[in-house]
């Protein structure tokens, strides 16, 4: 069967092994391939019936669970792209995202109805019980009503599969548009690199608005394996998460280093038999070797991979195999390694020349997994690419150093984007939120290293009349940005340091904060 889109992976595996388990949420909640295929067909039928057309966007704002996975495939089968929204982030932020990409339908949790956009003609499908009045259709009713529609929508490689929003430097999140062929090229690389089989039991730790989930879900489905969903609730309970891994005898684990560090610190791993694990991939941030060693004391059996890549190139573009016994004296983090076989890399210095071995430069990526552009942002899309030798290169903005034996080493960034717990954060977006507070006159946000968990976000502020409490400022920020962007520390100053051109002097501030915070 010709395979042109992500839903074709499900169709092929369903034909091969209809009765195998595809998705497991808990001991009592799971779906076989036939069930997932059939129920996502029904959802696609309902969406088509309600006017969703090929090329449309459909919002997805539900807790991790079977219905969320049915939704991914249902939306794509209807020819639309899914737009996953973080339901734990402020509703205003999520609603703006859904409005910006003009979703024609929204699948939403009953507790998150504040996300429903204000533009007209949005079909709303509600997951979970709503007290009182019903807004839109209930999920199960939608499946019933779409069951026999039987409409097939043609979906090509160039069609959009999903749009994931990341923090934007101007303070407004921007949506990276990923096509089906972008995602398929990455999944095919994963097949070669990790050689999964139908007997693998994958974890899915990443939320769907974080593109690490693309690996977990679609690689599983392609190989007729089973994916075990780690709910948001379970992800907050390291001890239960460790038991979940042992109980289900998971074979593949993928997450950020933060999640793994939390498992080591609080998961009581010594009490769990996790010898079934054969593969661990991590990415999204630096894994300090001391913490990696601590993990490997408990998880000795698996092979480890460090994956690197921004959302714009579909999850990962470089990889490094990490030894399963990190030496005691290793202090420098491991490199991000070599280009995945579906990607080409280029490292250029400030003058646009290719750097020699050992020198630093900006990393550019090209290949079939590089995104189409940002939704509705032609200027930012154009600025993200470099045309060189007739090839379109995506500028990652990451500074790297090339070495023949180790591959690429991540050095840092020249702009103000940071990564924390796998999430990209533009510090400007946090400043913009702070400036919305009436008591704040000046705000500047910097990060300082935190021995335990990577990065600490420090907000330096000067106030108009009297200083607001830190409790108030943190709570205020949390109404504007997701909690992973809320500053860890607040430092109050009469005036922020300025450069001779009257700009905030971030260098001075950063060195001051490294001492204070």
């Amino acid at each position: 069967m010709a395979r042109r889109n992500l839903a074709d992976l499900l169709a092929a595996s369903t034909a091969r092994c209809p009765n195998r388990l595809a998705v497991v949420e808990s001991d009592t909640r799971s779906l076989t391939y036939a069930e997932l295929d059939e129920q996502s067909d029904s959802l696609a039928g309902f969406l088509s019936q309600r006017g969703v057309r090929r090329g449309d966007r459909v919002g997805l704002a539900v807790p991790k669970g079977l219905q969320a996975v049915i939704s991914l495939f249902g939306i794509m089968k209807a020819g639309a792209a899914y737009v996953p929204v973080d339901i734990s982030a402020p509703a205003e932020r999520g609603r703006r995202i859904l409005e910006e990409c003009r979703v024609s339908a929204l699948i939403v949790d009953a507790a998150s109805l504040a996300l429903v956009p204000s533009h007209a003609a949005v079909q709303v499908i509600v997951v979970g019980a709503t007290p009182g009045e019903t807004v839109g259709a209930r999920f199960n009713d939608a499946l019933d009503s779409g069951r026999h529609v039987g409409q097939r929508v043609d979906v090509d490689g160039d069609d959009r599969a999903y749009i994931i929003y990341t923090s934007g430097s101007t303070g407004v999140p921007k949506g990276a548009v990923i096509t089906h062929s972008n995602a398929l090229s990455f999944i095919d690389w994963c097949s070669d690199a990790f050689t999964p089989t139908a007997d693998d039991r994958f974890s899915n730790h990443a939320p769907f608005h974080f593109d690490y989930s693309v690996l977990d879900i679609y690689l599983t489905i392609k190989h007729g394996a089973t994916v075990y969903l780690i709910s948001e609730e379970l992800a907050r309970r390291p001890r239960d998460m460790a038991r979940f891994i042992a109980h289900h005898r998971l074979t593949v684990w993928s997450s950020t280093p933060s999640a793994l560090m939390m498992l080591v610190q609080f998961g009581e791993l010594e009490a769990c038999d996790t010898s079934s694990l054969r593969l661990v991939t991590f990415g999204g941030e630096v894994f300090p070797p001391s913490h990696l060693r601590a993990l490997q004391r408990h998880w000795r059996s698996p092979v480890y991979f460090n994956l690197y890549g921004p959302t714009e190139i579909t999850t990962a573009c470089t990889f490094a195999r990490i030894p399963s016994d990190v030496p005691e004296d290793r202090e420098t983090p491991y490199p991000i390694g070599f280009a995945c076989s579906h990607c080409e890399t280029l490292v250029l210095d400030d003058a646009g020349r290719e750097v020699t071995e050992g020198a630093e430069g900006l990393l550019y990526i090209s290949g079939p997994s590089v995104f189409a552009g940002y939704w509705n942002r032609p200027a930012e899309t154009a600025a993200a690419f470099l045309d060189r030798g007739g090839v379109r290169w995506y500028n990652t903005g990451d500074v790297v150093r090339w070495d023949r034996t180790e591959g690429f080493t991540y050095v840092g960034r020249r702009d103000r984007m940071v990564k924390r717990r796998g999430f990209r954060i533009e510090l400007g977006e946090i400043e913009r939120a702070l400036y919305l507070h009436t008591g704040i006159r000046e705000a500047a946000v910097v990060t300082v290293p935190d021995g335990n968990l990577g990065l600490r976000i420090v907000a330096c502020v000067s106030c108009r009349n009297g200083r607001p409490s830190i409790v108030e400022l943190k709570s205020f920020c949390a109404t504007k940005v997701p909690t992973y962007m809320v500053p860890d520390r607040f430092v109050f100053k009469d005036h922020l340091p300025r450069t001779s051109s009257d700009k905030v002097d971030y260098q001075t501030l950063k060195s001051q904060m490294a001492e204070v915070a």
Binding site: R237, M262, I470, K474, S475
Partner: protein
């Protein structure tokens, strides 16, 4: 009960609100729903509480709805200790 609250308050002030006046953190201040404690901070707090007070908290004990303020946390610990003793 006051001892429990004071211990939790001090932990939160030192770990997550350095520089804050203790008066700004009341027993009723929402901590999870307000964004003062993110998920990682909550995991650390739960672990601290379990060690400090010798209780084991499960998923339902620490849900955002029922484990949001110092009062609610202290009540949960109190309840757990009674269950352990009987």
């Amino acid at each position: 009960m006051q001892d429990i609250k004071q211990t939790i308050r001090e932990f939160i002030l030192v770990s997550h609100l350095p520089g804050e006046s203790p008066d700004s953190l009341s027993d009723e201040t929402p901590l999870q729903t307000s964004g003062i404690l993110d998920s990682l901070a909550t995991v650390g707090l739960v672990s601290f509480i379990e060690k400090q007070f010798g209780v084991e908290l499960d998923v339902s004990d620490t849900s955002v709805e029922r484990f949001d303020s110092i009062n609610e946390m202290a009540a949960t610990i109190h309840r757990k200790r009674i269950v352990c003793r009987t």
